[in-house]
């Protein structure tokens, strides 16, 4: 017998005893509370795109991320240039993409491109990571990145400043919508990695005091393009 058969056999044997009713101990009416969708309990998200962008801004700022709505590509380029001079960037990590290419070109810094592989120490010594994303989640202020859409796993977590370029059309109301977007986009051929990023890396392990930049980026900037 294989281990798989042993464990599954134990489970099937255990489940032969009928389970108690799911609500056997509480004061509910006894009707199954299985939800059609969790939206009715989770925090509200607003109806229009403008409301959701506003909600995203509030949430992202609460999470200590910087969020900026850009009128056009030129403004985004200028914003990243400002970040670069303020942070004294010498080298950036990035992946190729319709949004990242023009910004990186104008920036004119040394760069490590992660597409198709890179040397870890090269990426580690970058001052910033420039990526695109799959979606922005208004309800939580999160950025959804995936391995194919954001230059792999490490680009968005290894450099000390993560800059995300996103389009307005990528704003989704909640986590459910973001997950549904992934299922529809990849139709079962999922990437090996996707992650909801909610603010810069943080820890409270010392006296429960918030410190940013525990192991990942100390700063997260999200730029919204038309």
């Amino acid at each position: 017998m294989t281990n798989r058969e042993i464990v599954l056999g134990r489970i099937r044997e255990a489940l032969e005893t009928a389970p108690p009713h799911p609500a056997f101990h509480d004061d509910s009416t006894g009707t199954s509370p299985l939800p059609a969708s969790p939206q009715s309990w989770l925090p509200r998200v607003g109806r229009t795109l403008e409301e959701r962008i506003e909600l995203f801004r509030r949430n992202a700022e609460d999470l200590k991320a910087e969020f900026h709505v850009c009128a056009g590509p030129a403004e985004a380029i200028q914003h990243v240039k400002n970040l670069a001079s303020a942070g004294g960037w010498k080298k950036i990590g990035r992946h190729s993409g319709a949004l990242t290419d023009p910004v990186a070109r104008e920036l004119g810094l040394a760069e490590v491109r992660t597409d198709g592989g890179y040397a870890v120490n090269d990426l580690e010594s970058c001052d910033a990571g420039l990526t695109e994303c799959e979606a922005l989640v208004a309800q939580t202020g999160s950025v959804l990145v995936s391995a194919p859409g954001a230059g792999g796993r490490a680009l968005s977590v290894l450099p000390p400043h993560h800059v995300v370029l996103a389009r307005r059309s990528q704003m989704v109301p909640d986590l459910g919508a973001a997950l549904q977007h992934m299922q529809e986009k990849f139709k079962g051929k999922f990437p090996s990695f996707f992650s909801f990023i909610s603010g810069p890396s943080r820890t409270g392990d010392i006296e429960r005091i918030l410190v940013l930049g525990a192991h990942g980026p100390k700063k997260l900037t999200i730029l919204l393009l038309p």
Binding site: P38, S40, R153, S201
Partner: protein
């Protein structure tokens, strides 16, 4: 009393007398209470969300065979290797085997209570491998060579001063009382480790059956680095972690963050569905998922207590438990502390050895009220008490109960006992709290209410009826 019970009692007695430590834990948790409530209130209905979460876990756990099979098959289709571990030894041997086969030099690990449960670090170190915990709290307790104090906040019992001294002793850093500086010391150490390590070990918060992915929730980014840079990733996953659908995470991720840490959402919620796929920039060449039973199926077989497997290890029940707050996390002597630990440890490690934990409860029900998946924790503690007595009848207690019934059924005996009590009371006062006191267990820390001079029956009989 067995050795575990004695150890627990000794440690609990020591800790409850340490008022400074108790204050410290209260202070550490006070911010949590405020933030948890704030973010719970942002939910349109927290109670509706709890109902839904409980129902989803009920569905998953009661069809565990089907969902696990689906989970494993989908992972394997994407090139992951799934190892089914019937017990802790099999899991340890497998992970050590993978490390040996690849001749790894250094191992970086992100937080995993399941790995703590099977003592994975000890096994790897005995086999000659260096393992470094990358979560800041876990790294601190690893340097101190002690187990995590709390399943979510491993180093919550330590002050910045203690951590500064520890880093100074072990890492040679300058003493500082700034938490940010201390965090940056660990960050610098860890950065080197991520780049050098050739194997990363993680746990998992959820296992999504529908898409064959594990989900890891963390704030620091250490789990993301642990699973991105080394060429091998091994995840240790308890079989009860299953969720049926990807969309279930839309509910569980915010609930876990709010209940567990008082956050609206945790910083990184990441899904891993395999090793590096064609066309991807990075990621491990091999992805191993170890599905751990280790007596979880025995808990599953107990239909009455099966729902204890719904637990998502958020730690909310520890944070509200008056026992945990007074005896502290280390007194339990278990991997899982607090109410959930007291419920499941007797199943995972033997009822008779760990039944004393069922008494480590005031039965106030704060744990049950706060549990995001509605596990009826304090009732399960009562179930464990009952089961323990069934397994090994408490003869003395039975005799006392029989005596009590005998007395209560016979007015003369009752009167006589009351009379004897009144006689004995002044004598007991002389030896109160000492080893000669028959009521010592009670009077050592509490006063015993004095018996009235006359019983109610006496007063009633003397009463003139108008």
């Amino acid at each position: 009393m067995n050795v575990h019970a004695r150890k627990f009692n000794d440690a609990a007695r020591r800790q409850t007398a340490d008022l400074r430590q108790r204050d410290w834990i209260q202070t550490a948790l006070s911010g949590y209470y405020a933030r948890r409530d704030e973010f719970k209130n942002r939910f349109q209905s927290w109670s509706g969300a709890r109902d839904a979460a409980a129902a989803i876990k009920w569905e998953a756990v009661n069809h565990l065979d089907r969902y696990l099979d689906e989970f494993a098959s989908r992972l394997e289709a994407r090139g992951a290797r799934v190892f089914w571990a019937p017990d802790a030894r099999a899991a340890r041997d497998y992970v050590v085997g993978v490390a040996r086969q690849h001749k790894v030099r250094s191992i970086i690990k992100s937080k995993s209570m399941t790995a703590e449960e099977i003592h994975l670090n000890d096994a790897l170190e005995q086999a000659g491998f260096e393992v470094v915990e990358s979560d800041l709290g876990e790294y601190i307790v690893q340097l101190r060579r002690e187990p995590p104090y709390h399943i979510v906040f491993p180093a919550m019992h330590l002050t910045r001063q203690q951590i500064s001294d520890l880093f100074h002793d072990r890492l040679g850093s300058e003493p500082t009382d700034n938490p940010e500086d201390l965090t940056m010391i660990a960050r610098r150490v860890m950065r080197r480790k991520y780049c050098e390590a050739d194997m990363g070990i993680s746990g998992a918060n959820f296992a999504v059956a529908e898409t064959g992915m594990i989900s890891i929730t963390e704030n620091e980014g250490n789990a993301r680095l642990t699973t991105s840079l080394p060429k091998i990733h091994v995840a240790i996953v308890g079989i009860e972690k299953v969720l049926p659908k990807l969309s279930d995470l839309a509910l569980f991720l915010p609930m876990l963050a709010t209940a567990g840490a008082g956050q609206p959402i945790t910083c990184y919620n990441t899904l891993y569905g395999g090793p590096r796929q064609p066309g991807e920039a990075d990621g491990p060449e091999e992805f191993h998922v170890v599905l751990l039973d280790n007596r979880r199926t025995e808990l599953l077989a107990d239909a009455e207590q099966r729902e204890a497997l719904h637990c998502i290890r958020c730690g909310a029940c520890l944070n509200v438990c008056p026992i945990f707050k007074n005896v502290g996390g280390h007194s339990y002597g278990t991997t899982y502390q607090g109410p959930i630990g007291s419920v499941i440890t007797p199943h995972l490690r033997g009822l008779l050895d760990w039944k004393h934990l069922s008494q480590a409860s005031s039965l106030c029900g704060a744990c049950t009220e706060t549990c995001p998946v509605k596990i009826n924790l304090h009732h399960h503690l009562l179930h464990n008490r009952r089961n323990a007595v069934r397994a090994r009848p408490a003869r003395l207690e039975k005799l006392l109960q029989a005596g009590f019934v005998f007395m209560m059924c016979r007015p003369q005996v009752y009167e006589w006992v009351g009379w004897m009590g009144r006689l004995a009371q002044p004598l007991q006062r002389l030896v109160r709290g000492t080893i000669l006191d028959p009521l010592r267990a009670w009077t050592r820390t509490r006063s015993f209410p004095p018996l009235a001079e006359k019983s109610f029956r006496q007063l009633w009989q003397e009463r003139k009826i108008p």
